[in-house]
Each structure stands twice: as C-alpha cells, then as structure tokens.
C-alpha cells in the first residue's frame, strides 16, 4: 500500500483503503480523508476523486438511493454507498472500498454490469402483456385488486432497482458463473405472479435447472443484504415451489 494523499488536514482523519486496478488486477491504496460528523461513503469516494486522485473510477447518479448505481463492497459487505453513513460502518476510523464482487471490473470501483443484466434477459425479465383477439383489452387487465394474493406476491419484489448488491453477495453466483442470480430470479418471480403477463410458462422454463432457481441453496445472503429489504431468496423458493408442482401437472 502506498500513501498518495495530500498532507492530512487538521482535525480528525479517516483512513480509506481503496481498491485501484482493472481487469488484470490491482491493489488497495490508502488515502486520508477529513472525517466529518455526517458523511456517506459516497461522499468520501467523491472527496478522494475531486481532491486527491482525479483518475479514480466509480459510478453514481442520484445520491439518494433511487438509481442503484453506486453499490460497492464496503468493509467486506456490498452496500449502496450513498445510503451508508461512514459512522455506521467504520467504527475504528478505517474504510475499505472494493468494486462489487462476482462482476468483471472495468477500473477501480466501477464494475461491468452487463453480465448481470444479460441474466435478467435470460430469465425473461421483461413484462409480456397477454393477448386478446382483435386488439381488445384482455380480461385480466380490467381490475387487478391490490389485495389479491397474486398481486401481493408480485408487489413484494417489484421495487427492485437492479443495484446488484444481492448478486455480489451470493456465493452461488461465485461458485457457478452461469447461475442467473437472485435479482434476475426475483424479477422472474414478480412477473410469474403478474396476472396480466402472458409468458408464464416460457419464463418458468427459462429459470429452471442448474443455472436457474434450482442452483440456490438458501444461504439467504441476498435477502440479508438487499438495501430495499426485498426477499429474493423467497422469490427463488417460490419459483422452485411452482416448478415442483408443475412437474406433477399442477399449475399453482
């Protein structure tokens, strides 16, 4: 580790180890950042890039937990950096920042999200409206009571913004690179429960098997780490359950 920071400012200082490198490898480098009473991890990264190391690569957009682009591994755990207060995670005054796990690194803290979203496509993660003859509106579209069990099951996972925290936290993805992963399967389960969707069976076929929901071993790291409090592990279990009865000819 080498120290590339400017002289430490007066007052409290935060030690920040940042992974610097690219696809071919890299290392942690230490920076000193003024500690403030209220600062998020994203504030710290931004400080390093603006004041110390202009070529530091990282990604963010909204800064308020809506876009899902600033996720990184903070002190060993995947998190949204914009919604993580330094106080909460760096009790001993040291921050360790790495790019999201289980994804190819582009440079420094920016990962290539393409494999992640490719898997959403493979899991048929796009809504496919049911058809009705002569361009009429399908019956299922008229009223979908929000309190119906199906709609509630769909609503349970619909708030996913695709930040990749669950995907980076999943050991099964690490051990089985073909595995679709919690986010894509959560999306598939959401659509399987959407009564307006017309691709239920092909979607179920797309998510079964060793690269699909049956690879999951319920470590539940995804559910544990989801910043939105969603339950991708429960969604994967739902797909397994549905497919199990499917084998015996029951569609439930």
């Amino acid at each position: 580790m080498q120290d590339r920071s400017e002289p430490a400012p007066t007052g409290a200082v935060l030690q920040v180890d940042v992974w610097r490198g690219d696809a071919s490898g890299g290392e942690l480098r230490r920076y000193q950042v003024p500690a403030r009473e209220n600062q998020t991890v994203l504030d710290v990264v931004t400080h390093i890039q603006r004041e110390i190391e202009p070529d530091l690569a990282y990604r963010f957009a909204c800064r308020v937990g809506m876009c899902g682009s600033c996720a990184m591994v903070v002190n060993g755990r995947a998190r949204w950096t914009c919604r993580t207060h330094v106080k909460k995670v760096a009790a001993d005054g040291v921050l360790e920042l790495r790019p999201l796990a289980n994804l190819p690194v582009i440079r420094d803290l920016a990962t290539d999200m393409a494999p992640f979203f490719d898997k959403w496509a493979r899991a048929r993660g796009t809504f496919q409206p049911k058809d009705a003859p002569d361009g009429a509106v399908p019956a299922e579209f008229h009223v979908v009571p929000p309190s119906s069990p199906k709609r509630q099951a769909a609503d349970a996972g619909i708030e996913c913004i695709g930040c990749g925290v669950c995907y980076a936290s999943c050991d099964i993805v690490a051990w089985n690179p073909d595995y679709l992963g919690p986010a894509a399967l959560n999306r598939a389960w959401t659509l399987v429960n959407d009564v307006r969707d017309g691709a239920r069976q092909p979607r179920l076929d797309a998510v079964k098997g060793d690269a699909g929901c049956h690879a999951c071993h319920s470590t539940q790291s995804c559910t544990e780490r989801c910043p939105k409090g969603l339950d991708p592990s429960g969604a994967v279990a739902g797909l397994k359950r549905t497919l199990f009865w499917n084998v015996f000819g029951w569609d439930r």
């Binding site: 099964i172 089985n176 079964k208 060793d210 049956h214 071993h217 397994k240 199990f244």
Partner: protein, 107 residues
Amino acid sequence: MRLWVIQRVTAMWLAFAVLVHLVTILAAVQGGLSAAEILDRTRGSLGWLGFYAAFALAAGLHGAIGLRAVAAEWLGWRGKRLDAAWVAIGLLTAGFGISAAYGLYAA
C-alpha cells in the same frame, strides 16, 4: 431439474425416516448394543425390511445428488456424463444398503 425433484421427494421421506431411525437408535443403545438384540428386531420382519430398503434407496440417491452439487460448486465437476455417474453411485450405494438390510432380515 429432475434430479432436484428427486432430491426434494427423497428429502421429505428421509425427514420422516431419519426421525424414526434416530428414535430407534436412542431406544436401541439403552443398556448397550448386542448382535442378538439387533437381529431379534430385524430377523424375518418384513415391515422392518421394507422400511429400511426404502430408507436406503432414498439415502443413497439423496447423498449422491448432494455430492453432485458440492462437486460442481467446489471442484467445478460438471456435465451430463458426470450426472449419470452420480445417479449410478447413488443407486450403487442404495443397493449396498438394501443388500445389507436383507442380510439382517435373512440372518
């Protein structure tokens, strides 16, 4: 997916059978084990043979399918031919167990 379905169906049966097995063990080891005592229970008992044959079949398959997942994830052993090998190992283990159970039944 077929292997997963077998894994779960055997799991449900094993959940029950293991419970019976554990209770039997706990009851049997009271006051020590002797061959005569074991054979007393098993000899000529069709119900016992049926239960343990089904138990051994499920355990053999369940274990082999479990090992398949561990081997795929921790050793990178994957493929259709290996799948067939795991099923064969499972059935072989089960056959071994069933013949042992038959031995205790016919002894």
